[in-house]
Amino acid sequence: MALPESRRQKLDMLIRSLAAGKIKQAEETLRAAGRPKPPRKLLALEEVAPGAEASNPQGAFWLIRRRLAEVSPEAPSVQKEYLAVLRGARHRFDEMRASAALCHVADGQPEGPLFLDVETCGLAGTCVFMIGLMSCRDGELVFDQLLARHYGQEPAILAAFAERMASAETLVSFNGKAFDMTNIRERAAFHGLALPAEPPHCDVLHESRRRWRDIVPDCRLQTLEQYLCRRRRVGDVLGSEIPDVYHGFVADGDATRLKSVLHHNLLDLLTTAQLLCLLLTGEEPCVDL
């Protein structure tokens, strides 16, 4: 059987290294060679995330603003539902059992809630690199993704968020009490940034647990999305891979994979809004298990 040329080269390299007493180096070289990287096209951030540079006293960052209609084919129906529910039509939820924050959202206008989903460089209180926001403006759901193009822009996105939070009536998140807001608070403290008082915060994870714990296998966002919103993600980036994607983007500026992170963040926001609607209508969705 003929040896492929690439393998022969590796074996030759191994033999040379053995002769030179550099086994460890050879192992490393081989391991690196074992992962061939196909030549790929570098994609600039502007190409995958049309946005604009924004800035505040903390510095510059990248702001990607998109209307729901630009990103989702389901836009008209989701938006219609959201507006209807938030305007108070079809409220059927049990106010006695709901949290104060959920009641607050129910009592407000569609423009009241600020949806929040942050992406970080890891679990251990590390850098927040993107703050995904969604709110309703002029009858339309609009996403604002505040992206730090490198680690040094974190203070700028935190300051931009602080400004947005100051004018929000309520915050809506999925697990944001334990994760998103905790991270934001810790990182703001690290940078010495003052945050405005937190408005009532409706954590859809907690509400969902209360409502649907017994009818779905678990209350992770994507499980609820699958069973309650009847949507499945295809080719979504794994949460655990997100830090590496961002580090890669900072290292070489290639935004190819960052695109999927931006999309992942949008979907998380959208699903949170849909779940909020379900919570407010009090409808028991039919779940096929």
């Binding site: 007493g21 550099k22 890891g122 251990a124 209180g125 040094g152 991270n183 690290f190 590496d244 900072v250």
Partner: protein, 747 residues
């Protein structure tokens, strides 16, 4: 106890005649008190009076004054001199004045943190007003996740260890920012244990802590406590990066102490004089005599199995003599925390008359002062010797310390040169936080916590830029606008081990009792202690190891009635895996490269109790443990070896002596601890006797490399008139002890 009477009586017996090599009387000392010129709240005086403390020793008063003056302090006084008061008083009075303040106590072991937690809890339990401000809590790897947030926000004194600080607190500084902002005092106790590689890491961890404190706006004061070492100011200065104030005017009283050097007698004919009665057996007999006289005694052994055997034999000898047999217990690492706490308590209250312990009881756990300490074999350092000896010491009566010699060169050397023991300076504790290898790991952690800038040279020294760039070249950091940011996922602290020995433990599980865990053992020692069919002794009770699960890290044992114990047969080797550089020199060929040091339990022997008769042996098939590290090696030329032979030396044995000298001399060149390096003489690798010196840390830390680069200096130190320290280590040669201890033919 009347120590002199005891010595007289016991040496009158025929069996014990001519065994006392030396008796040194250490005179008593009166307590020296001092008025503290800083006010101590009346509330705290009330608490002290309830503990029967009415005045402060002068070192306590001096420490409290220095802390009140805002100085960073290191307290170096004897065992049981009331060191903890030197930090507890200022900390608690600080809390009474400012309840929002915080204190962090760092201990080298979890057990010490638990011990001090108990002390603080008793303080808080005495008075409601103290309890209102003093909320102590241990935060270490054993702290349940659901308690952690509450401790971070609510505890005013957090007790932890350097490893937890490194991997579980500093990387999560965001969750600790309020604590760090309010941190007023950092207490680093048992600071002498932070030396060598471990100490150098801890120095960096403390700098990381202080750097984050500065970031969040605090500048805590530092109080260190240390056992006696030669250079406490230098050590703590390097550990903390601060200029420290030394408090060492020990004002605590002590009674008279008799320090006896005891050499077991020869067993063989006068003409031969090779083997001596076992020091272990001797220890049992002395312990039994002391217990019969109701003298509270601690036996320090160098090995876990010896601690168990001494206990078992002593208990059996005392069987039937009132309740005496029940008033001895063994104590060693590997017992479960609850069991250890119970033994410490029983010793403290006097319920126990004796413990047979390992150096697990050497650090400052408060067991009260005892009448006698028996040291079975020289503990290895002057520091440890005095630490262990310090366990014996009543203020109002005499105490006794007996150092029992093994029949090995170092111990025998000490028996002949008592002045070495009593006259020599304590060892220097060396740390080198600027070691590039250590810095590479620690700067990664620091960078993860807060981006590195040029200003960080103030914390970590002038190498910061170079080392950070080296890490950045591997893609783990990225420089943006003059700052290095951590640029890959994962917490680097999990990849940096502070200690040379891994913290992994095996659980020892009793299959006959519902798979209850009865003890634990560190992963390095497990194959030497709980190999299949080993007799595992726990509180003197024999268990047989039925299975050693190296994957799951569990040793399965069951109780067994056997009349033997087991000894492992160990094999080790050092194999060159890569030669990086070589340099021919006038003294022979020298190389630097990579080695695999492996060791393995290949077999075991069954040894009958008492008679020590060999009743069986079997081979084992256990995986070898490997340390892949950096080494330097040196092959002296043929001419030098034949010269040695001609002078009547065995060349290989002489080379072993040289290796010992080299190991003793390297720390001063490489800025490491003696225990951070090791060496062998081996002919298998190169076909000619070669001295190998390697770093005892995976991947190496640059010590062997330093010796290679400075080889001439190194040999100069070896061939110069060896210092006393060097001489002791050099004495650890296999040469007959009648010869000068060095075997140090001139290099």
């Amino acid at each position: 106890m009347d120590a002199r009477l005891f010595i007289r009586e016991i040496t009158a017996e025929k069996r014990y005649r001519d065994q006392v090599a030396h008796v040194r009387e250490i005179p008593p000392r009166q307590a020296v008190y001092a008025e503290c010129r800083r006010e101590i709240p009346e509330l705290l005086w009330g608490l002290l009076r309830r503990q029967n403390i009415h005045r402060l020793y002068r070192h306590q008063a001096a420490a409290i004054e220095a802390v009140a003056d805002g100085r960073d302090v290191v307290v170096v006084t004897g065992t049981a001199s009331g060191k903890t008061l030197c930090y507890n008083l200022p900390v608690v009075s600080g809390l009474l004045a400012d309840p929002a303040g915080r204190a962090l106590y760092i201990f080298p072991t979890k057990a010490l943190a638990q011990d001090q937690l108990g002390v603080l809890q008793r303080w808080a339990g005495q008075d409601r007003r103290i309890a209102e401000v003093l909320a102590p809590a241990v935060y270490d790897g054993d702290t349940p996740a659901h308690n952690r947030a509450k401790i971070r926000s609510g505890a005013s004194v957090v007790l932890t260890n350097p490893d937890m600080l490194h991997v579980g607190i500093l990387p999560y500084h965001g969750k600790w920012h309020q604590f760090l902002r309010r941190l007023r005092t950092i207490v680093v106790d048992e600071v002498h244990s932070y030396r060598g590689i471990f100490g150098s890491h801890v120095a960096c961890v403390l700098r990381r802590l202080l750097r984050l404190c500065e970031h969040y706006g605090s500048r805590p004061q530092i109080v260190c406590c240390s056992a006696t070492i030669a250079n406490p100011l230098e050590l703590t200065g390097k550990l903390t990066g601060r200029e420290m104030t030394l408090i060492d005017n020990d004002g605590s009283p002590r009674g008279r102490k008799y320090f006896v050097l005891w050499n077991p007698p020869f067993l063989d004919l006068p003409g031969e004089r090779v083997s001596r009665r076992s020091a272990n057996v001797e220890a049992v007999d002395l312990l039994v005599e002391l217990v019969r006289r109701r003298a509270q005694t601690i036996v320090f052994t160098r090995a876990r199995i010896v601690a168990e055997l001494v206990y078992k034999y002593a208990r059996e000898q005392l069987a039937g003599e009132e309740d005496l047999a029940g008033r001895i217990r063994p104590y060693r690492g590997g017992y479960l925390p609850m069991e250890r706490r119970e033994i410490e308590q029983q010793l403290f209250t006097g319920r126990l008359l004796a413990v047979s312990a390992t150096n697990a009881l050497e650090l400052g756990i408060d067991v009260g002062s005892l009448d006698a300490a028996i040291l079975v074999g020289f503990p290895g350092t002057i520091c440890s010797t005095w630490q262990q000896a310090g366990r014996a010491g009543r203020t109002a009566s005499d105490s006794l310390v007996i150092l029992l010699a093994y029949n090995d060169p170092v111990d025998q050397y000490l028996m002949r040169h008592p002045d070495y023991l009593f006259g020599a300076a304590h060892e220097h504790a060396i740390v080198d936080p600027a070691n590039p290898y250590i810095l590479a790991g620690q700067l990664s952690c620091a960078c993860f916590e807060k981006p590195l800038t040029a200003e960080d040279e103030a914390w970590f020294g002038p190498l910061v830029g170079d080392v950070a760039q080296a890490v950045a070249d591997d893609g783990q950091m990225k420089a943006i606008d003059g700052r290095y940011y951590w640029s890959c996922s994962g917490n680097p602290a999990t990849q940096v081990n502070l200690r040379t020995i891994s913290q992994n433990n095996y659980a020892i599980v009793n299959t006959a009792d519902g798979h209850k865990t009865i003890g634990q053992v560190d992963a390095i020692s497990a194959p030497e202690l709980v190999y299949p069919q080993a007799v595992y002794l726990h509180e003197g009770e024999p268990y047989i190891v039925s299975q050693l699960d190296t994957e799951g890290k569990i040793a399965y044992v069951e109780p067994a009635k056997v009349d033997y114990y087991t000894q492992p047969v160990l094999a080790s080797q050092c194999r060159i895996t890569a030669t990086r550089e070589q340099r021919p020199r006038p003294q022979g060929q020298t190389c630097i490269g990579d080695v695999d040091v492996t060791w393995q339990t290949t077999a075991f022997r069954k040894v009958k109790y008492y008679t020590m008769e060999l009743v069986g042996q079997a081979s084992l098939d256990l995986p070898a443990q490997t340390l892949a590290t950096a080494a330097m090696w040196w092959s002296p030329p043929e001419a030098a070896r034949s010269g040695l032979s001609a002078a009547g030396y065995n060349p290989v044995e002489a080379l072993m002596g040289v290796r010992n000298l080299m190991l003793a001399a390297l720390p001063s060149i490489a800025m490491c601890d003696r225990r951070d390096i090791s060496g062998v003489v081996d002919s298998a690798n190169l076909g000619t006797p070669t001295v190998f010196v390697y770093d005892r840390y995976p991947g190496g830390v640059g010590f062997a490399r330093k010796g290679y680069e400075l080889f001439d200096d190194w040999l100069d130190i070896c061939s110069a008139r060896p210092s006393t320290t060097t001489r002791t280590w050099a004495a650890a040669t296999p040469c007959p002890t009648s010869r000068p201890p060095s075997c140090c033919w001139t290099c």
